[in-house]
Symmetry: C2
Subunit: 563 residues, 2 copies
């Protein structure tokens, strides 16, 4: 099959964590989080960052623009192979306004790309587009030409290619090339194909589409049948030189192809594939953790490459006998993906210098005031916990640095609960004007009680979609990390690139503390703050206004049961 006899070639890694990943249920990130993920992806060495779908909302457009400006012009920190900043790509439906917005968002990048798409499968053309094949071809030509009139680098995807008639696909792709597309991406949108089928599809395109040799052929797979990685590799072997992936394989339904699986398969089986990527594999673990924290989408212990059990034995163990023996069961070294357990463990006697050095070794570059705040948090944690590991530091930094601006801030929490019934929480928050609010509430448990007390203050009707806690490190004195997802009732809906129906917007929140009730409260407030900010930014000041006009502004010290 395919390219077995060619020399070592390169596969471009196109990361769509911030677009296809972020639009999956509950994976919503704030603009600040997206920027941080984009920075991490750039350091990881991805070639193209699909930063979002700018036409979704002004907020989305601004998020992509900020990434284009900051990450799209910063070659520093990239793995040595790349001396250029990553390409920053914006997605657009095949509409003139979408394409204009995508261009508006990405144009400030040193290397901008517009990505546009239109469905080519019979089921999509008939039920979704209500267009006949000739109209589809015309629209593709028109929109690719328009995109190309704005931008040198244009990617076109025939949506649901996996279920499209190959002969029709060849026609569409040929016209897209003639209209100026520089990358042709073949998506298995619904995760339907097998590696044999998908490889044949790519092989057919590589052989039969005139002009294909002058453009980059790309693959984009979904994991509905658990075959995304295999399909992507089959596409690469059949000639694709760009793989569209997400960190941890997040994405709609069963998710997209996992970046880490494709990269490590190419790396581990290099003699078979004879293909390189620009990825610095030692950053894979950290980026995986970052994305999991920001999205609240857990990585199970048995996930390939990035799961907690993925390696045969613990990182950092260097007894030679053990190593020799474990090689019989280990095809990758944990160090290769950056799983090195720090030998330098920090404790309560560690000074600011040791703290700063460790953070810098972990790849964090903090401003002085951020460092000061983080160090205070570190000392407080070290008072409670004997040893502070890298995982503790990363949880602490995530909690400290990457929170949304605080509309409401936690000022105090007091909880009583147990088997005697009537779990009660008292919450004190500082509001947008610095005013103090205190509320007590009874709930079905301490988290419910605390959330009810917060709701009584914040007053934003919402549904808690998901709530999860896990311990950062081993031992009973571990920090707990809480992630939540909330959805506002009657709030913003978000346009979805692939659907016609708008979807209610969901917001994720994250909190870490040695007290899991405190962490739960922080996570909920962080999600509510995101909600308040987002719903305020879209011209809908309704929610913020309502908060401003709430009767309990000022220093409402009166404690009332909310339940």
């Amino acid at each position: 099959m395919g390219t077995e006899n060619q020399d070592m070639d390169n596969v471009n890694i196109f990361d769509t964590t911030l677009r296809d990943g972020e639009q999956s249920p509950g994976a919503t990130m704030t603009s600040a989080e997206k920027l941080e993920v984009a920075r991490a992806l750039s350091r990881l060495g991805v070639d193209i960052i699909e930063a979002g779908f700018p036409a979704a909302s002004p907020d989305d457009l601004n998020g992509v623009r900020r990434i284009a400006e900051e990450v799209g012009n910063a070659p520093r920190g990239r793995p040595s192979a790349s001396s250029q900043p990553p390409i920053i790509c914006g997605l657009s439906r095949a509409h003139r306004e979408d394409i204009d917005k995508a261009w508006e968002a990405v144009q400030s990048a040193a290397r901008p790309r517009i990505h546009t798409f239109l469905a080519t499968s019979e089921i999509h053309m008939k039920h979704k587009l209500r267009m006949d094949p000739e109209q589809v071809v015309e629209r593709v030509i028109e929109m690719v030409e328009h995109a190309r009139s704005l931008c040198e680098d244009v990617e076109f995807s025939p949506e649901d290619a996996g279920r499209s008639d190959p002969e029709f696909l060849y026609v569409v792709l040929e016209e897209a090339i003639k209209a100026g597309a520089t990358t042709l991406n073949i998506p298995d949108t619904v995760g339907y194909t097998t590696p044999g089928e998908f490889g044949s599809l790519i092989k057919g395109i590589a052989q039969k589409v005139p002009g294909i040799e002058d453009v980059t052929l790309s693959v984009h797979c979904h994991d509905d049948l658990g075959l995304a990685t295999a399909n992507t590799l089959a596409g690469i072997r059949a000639g694709a030189r760009q793989a569209e992936v997400t960190v941890n394989g997040i994405g709609e339904r069963a998710g997209n192809t996992s970046l880490e699986e494709v990269v490590m398969a190419l790396h581990t089986r290099r003699p078979i594939f004879r293909l390189a990527t620009g990825i610095d594999t030692t950053q894979i673990s950290r980026v995986s953790k970052l994305v999991s924290n920001y999205t609240g989408i857990v990585v199970p212990p048995n996930k390939a490459v990035v799961g907690a059990n993925a390696f045969a034995h613990e990182a950092g163990i260097h007894q030679d006998g053990m190593l020799k023996h474990e090689a019989t069961y280990e095809i990758m070294r944990p160090e290769t993906v950056g799983l090195t357990q720090s030998l330098l463990v920090l404790g309560k006697h560690s000074g600011r210098h040791a703290f700063r050095v460790r953070l810098s070794e972990l790849g964090y570059a903090l401003e002085e005031d951020e460092l000061a705040r983080a160090f205070d948090r570190f000392k407080a944690l070290a008072d409670k916990k004997k040893t502070i590991t890298d995982a503790d530091l990363e949880a602490l930094l995530a909690d400290e640095l990457y929170q949304p601006p605080e509309v409401f801030a936690l000022d105090g929490l007091q909880v009583a609960c147990g088997t005697m019934g009537m779990p009660t929480a008292t919450v004190r928050l500082r509001g947008p004007e610095g005013e103090e609010h205190v509320q007590a509430a009874v709930g079905t448990g301490p988290v419910d009680a605390a959330y009810k007390a917060i709701d009584a203050i914040v007053g934003v009707p919402n549904t808690l979609l998901e709530f999860s806690v896990h311990a950062v490190t081993e031992g009973i004195d571990a920090q707990g990390e809480v992630t939540v997802r909330v959805q506002s009732k009657g709030g913003l809906q978000t346009a979805h690139a692939l659907r016609e129906t708008p979807q209610p917007r969901t917001y994720g929140g994250y909190g870490a503390d040695t007290d899991i009730i405190v962490a739960s409260v922080k996570a909920y407030l962080s999600a509510l703050n995101k909600l308040l900010i987002s719903e305020g930014q879209d011209g809908q000041m309704r929610v913020l206004a309502q908060v401003g006009a709430a009767p309990d502004t000022g220093t409402a010290q009166d404690v009332q049961p909310a339940d």
Copy 2:
């Protein structure tokens, strides 16, 4: 490739959740849990249940024997296609004593199988076995013959076949067939191969091993590069008619091939594969949830088939327009894997009859006393929570029915915590003799405080390896489910089928409550109870004896800070 032109054939599903899955870190289940999983697997319609590795310990042997006796003789409840009970299989290394123990464990099943294995890759023969290829062939002949002298149904696996020399593999397999093996299983032990390679390996075996047409060819893959499902399907297309899988893909490192992915790929792409299985797909969701609860190994939302987001839209929505539209993005219906949201929602006014009917619809057959206890729990929950969903019922039943015998039982808990510091928990437990113990402790958070108070009573040195909480259902009044994994310090080690080095034993615990601190305490006690029982059963009564002799037996009402 392979078998495209043959008629509809059957692939046997060999489930090794209870063996390869259960021996992965932290997935330890009690004998009662294993029996319950085996029952669920039988109802699901798997053809073969690998029930364990009897030589690991007397406890493991007894667990397999109980499954052989009870599940291995019960044809009832199986999907209509199967009128026979499942084959019950026991794993054994290629040692005479192992094989004898496997036979002792499985012989009472109506259809017993002995599975034995020996490594055939150069790296394994050299570093692990320290045997030359001739010795390996001799041992295989001898041990397969011995197994066959005991049992009609013998499976042989050349371990690390994926990295073995195919020519040597053909010799070993031919000899195994001549010695009496009836199934030859080809494992990609380290998850190293690509679908192309693995398919070729199976094709080569199917073509070149004399006598292969009279035995069943089987595949067993691991997911280290994210390719387990694709490799398994490639093996099936190349002629394998047995697939070794686990529920949720649990297993060592990145896990085994997922049962649900292979079954649903064969089902969804039936025109391509033209192969059937005996699986009742509508039970997949429930079995997935059961295994996740018992092992504490989470299923991420983006997991194919069984993840919370796996389907394009929520189950139970039957607006026709919606359906037509969603078909453009959905290749499976949620109902096919049993994701039906109950329209009958129970509440506080639901009577015992409605409760019993719903449980029976969900597939639970409770004894009268179990039903009475569960109904009491249900009423208590309905007092706190407006609507009780199927997920709530399943959490409640898991918490109520499948707990280990209580060595220590929770009698009362009182917690105070918050941002003011000094989180404090008071715990009252009933001990093995019915005596009462009360302890208070201060911790870094409420869970830490409660666990320290419990430790002060139970007195078993242990390490908390993992702690996670998630909400069962949406809404802030949801029940919280807590899973923990603990490891005893200086306690039992467990023999591992594939390794020479023993591993420390870990125990999982599960608790559900609307108060997550109460749920946390229940989960910890459930893990400690498992630990006390297991470490007591192995002739090492040390721990239980120590508890019996602890100075604070009797009604120790004196409250002392443990910290």
